[in-house]
Subunit: 432 residues, 2 copies
């Protein structure tokens, strides 16, 4: 770095609503990553960003500087188009588990580099790790080979990828600076751009169970991320999808793997299939270019069970046993339906908190998660239920958690005499 | 502390514009002072306060919690009313040096517990330390005795007083969170309330050379501080005074002591006398209660030189030699007046920066300051000047600093053909 800046001047500039020049952005990210800017100084800067935002040019430069803090993968030469997907996270969101082998079965390679979950939404790696033997860590060479051979890989992002984000994310987590559109967008997009995918589909969740409940915020985040992708040469589009009720019929690591396998074998809940297929279509379209004439229909591929062998190969390539039974909870408590009628509301956030309390999520990043804990529900939105019949199952190895999980669910369910009209799951497509 | 809080929840609440309940404020200050809340978390909280401010009740509780982090002095029983003064700081502002012995000479004891300067405005202790032998540190017992015997003490605030402020101030200094009215007000008022004074007059500077240039901000700060004083039982009022030109004819530690002595002996510049007498009148009025009928006129006391023996006793009681010559700079460079006419502008900030560059101020709190460095000017605003005659003197022991000091002063002076109308120095009195 030839330029040198006074970090307090930069904090004050952002605090007062200014934008940093590009060289200052480069300096700040580099100096923070290498410990020359203190944690408390970056914390103040991040809160000023939550307040003042970032100008578009500034955010592009910030994201580029984050990427430049580490290595970039090169996925050229694996012999197939690549496309990845990222979800902003929802309760019961096991879409990646189904989507990755599905899109691979349609001929497009999916390098799904994931993180672990923090809070009630759970992470894709946590879910996969409930499969006996499965390992999240893959050296880049093996990752590339698996992508070329099988077309599908779900693994941990290596520590060399965007080290600035690792530090920034840990800091944001303890300083109340997570909820900022430029900070969220740069965190997600720096990792996706650095992993080397040539196209990317974003599943941005909207609603009571989502990180950003309002559709306006979700649309702005989607557009911001798509713009960052486009600027870096990654074809990026987003789908806004509803997250009022949890997705599918289960939330919890092993429970979600079981549901994903069921779906890959041609069964599974309709809402999970709808979102997965919509995302798969976009991914294939973005990977192949704008002409969808020769497109394989992922709905047919999924229903036929043709993606299931890809799942098995993907699991086995990472030392997982696709035939081993998943671990099961020692305690399953049942919550009956409080009335007869139609299930018109199941609160995603309440289900997420209950699953988390049962052991499925972590409060701190060093906490372990339980592979068996979680919640299953016997009816989807609009389905008939009968008073006294089982509605929810609470799975745990720790019965002491049941009381607080039940408390989280106390107001989670609404049953009405008439079925409420179905609300759409797939809301809108967003381009840069 | 019986209550326990999650600091991230508190940061998020403030970030989102909320006010903390009293128990949460108490917990946050206590946990930060004892290292249970990390520096980066408090930094994010402070930036959120710069953004969102504090509700009046919240600020009262915050200030009380800061005071409760340490000891409180008890000045009852020294046999005289006590009144202190605080200035928000200006260039050439040596008012405390004259005011403390002056008010004591009028029969009211002044416990002036001070800090060291950071940046270009310099601190009262730095100025006093240019007196050979003088010591800023006084044990509380000696401080009380000196106050009872002489009625005047200028000394360092002991480390037991408001330890929360020491940590908070150091953190604000490196995180761009100094400029916040509730944070400034609580920092100043917590120390003044803890030192045990029964009344307090605030000199809030307004103008280009002040910390808060706008009169609206200055008035709000004054009112906020007066409210905090009143709530804690300290009769507090403020005077807004102008800080466009520097005060008196010198800025620099030893140079300001010399000017203060000249003023205490019955001489001195008119602007310094005007501000000092206005503050002295308020201090005596607040100390004695609202009836000013029996008031000694501090203007007469100052002009008579009757405060000078109090100064000598105050200096000697802290091992200073009031007869010792002050140290003098080895180099004095002269800047001539660029034109003939009337001095209509002398920029306070430029003079402060020049004095700072010559060695009178510090950039970091561990830096030493020079007792001899500084700037003198031969004319006040409205005075006639002659082209080529000396206008400014730059004093330093380090001639290498002269060039940058001259550069700071390049646009500092305006000379006009006609004298500009005098602008008032004392702007307005502010009550809670």
């Amino acid at each position: 770095m030839s330029a040198d800046f006074d970090v307090v001047d930069l904090i004050r500039a952002k605090r007062d609503g200014g934008s940093l020049p590009g060289a200052a952005v480069d300096w700040l990210i580099d100096a923070y990553t290498h410990g020359r800017v203190a944690e408390e100084q970056m914390a103040a800067y991040l809160m000023a960003v939550v307040w003042r935002g970032m100008a578009p040019d500034e955010l592009h430069r910030w994201t580029a500087a984050m990427i430049n803090s580490g290595e970039r993968l090169d996925l050229a030469g694996i012999g197939r188009p690549t496309v990845d997907k990222h979800s902003t996270g929802g309760v019961g969101d096991k879409v990646s588990l189904v989507l990755t082998p599905l899109v691979a079965a349609c001929g497009v390679a999916v390098p799904q580099l994931s993180g672990r979950g923090l809070g009630h939404t759970g992470g894709t790696l946590d879910k996969m790790e409930s499969i006996p033997g499965w390992r999240a860590e893959l050296p880049p060479g093996r990752m590339r080979r698996q992508l070329a051979d099988i077309g599908a890989v779900i693994c941990a992002a290596g520590s060399g990828l965007v080290p600035a984000d690792r530090r920034l994310y840990a800091l944001r987590d303890v300083t109340g600076t997570v909820e900022s559109i430029p900070l969220i967008a740069s965190s997600i997009m720096s990792k996706k751009i650095a992993e080397g995918t040539s196209a990317l589909v974003l599943d941005v969740k909207v609603g009571a169970g989502a990180f950003l409940p309002s559709v306006d915020d979700a649309r702005l985040l989607a557009r911001t991320m798509a713009g960052l992708g486009a600027a870096a040469g990654v074809r990026t589009e987003a789908l806004l999808t509803a997250m009022d009720a949890p997705l599918g019929r289960a939330a919890g690591n092993g429970l979600e793997v079981a549901e994903s396998v069921e779906t890959l074998r041609g069964g599974g809940p309709a809402d999970l299939i709808e979102v997965t297929v919509a995302l798969a279509r976009m991914m294939i379209e973005l990977a192949d270019g704008p002409d969808p004439s020769g497109m394989v229909d992922p709905a047919l591929v999924l229903a036929s069970g043709a993606a299931y062998p890809v799942w098995r190969a993907m699991v086995a390539a990472q030392d997982g046993d696709p035939d081993a039974p998943l671990p099961r909870a020692s305690t399953v408590a049942v919550v009956p339906a409080p009335a007869s009628g139609y299930l018109s509301r199941l609160d995603a956030r309440a289900v997420g908190v209950a699953a988390w309390r049962l052991g499925a999520g972590r409060a701190r990043k060093e906490d372990p998660v339980s592979p068996v804990a979680g919640v299953r529900w016997h009816a989807g939105i609009g389905d008939p239920v009968t008073a006294g019949e089982p509605l929810l199952e609470l799975h745990t190895d720790n019965p002491a958690t049941l009381e607080r999980a039940r408390a989280a669910l106390a107001d989670a369910v609404t049953i009405t005499a008439q079925p409420s009209p179905a609300s759409p799951l797939v809301l809108e497509r967003v381009r840069a």
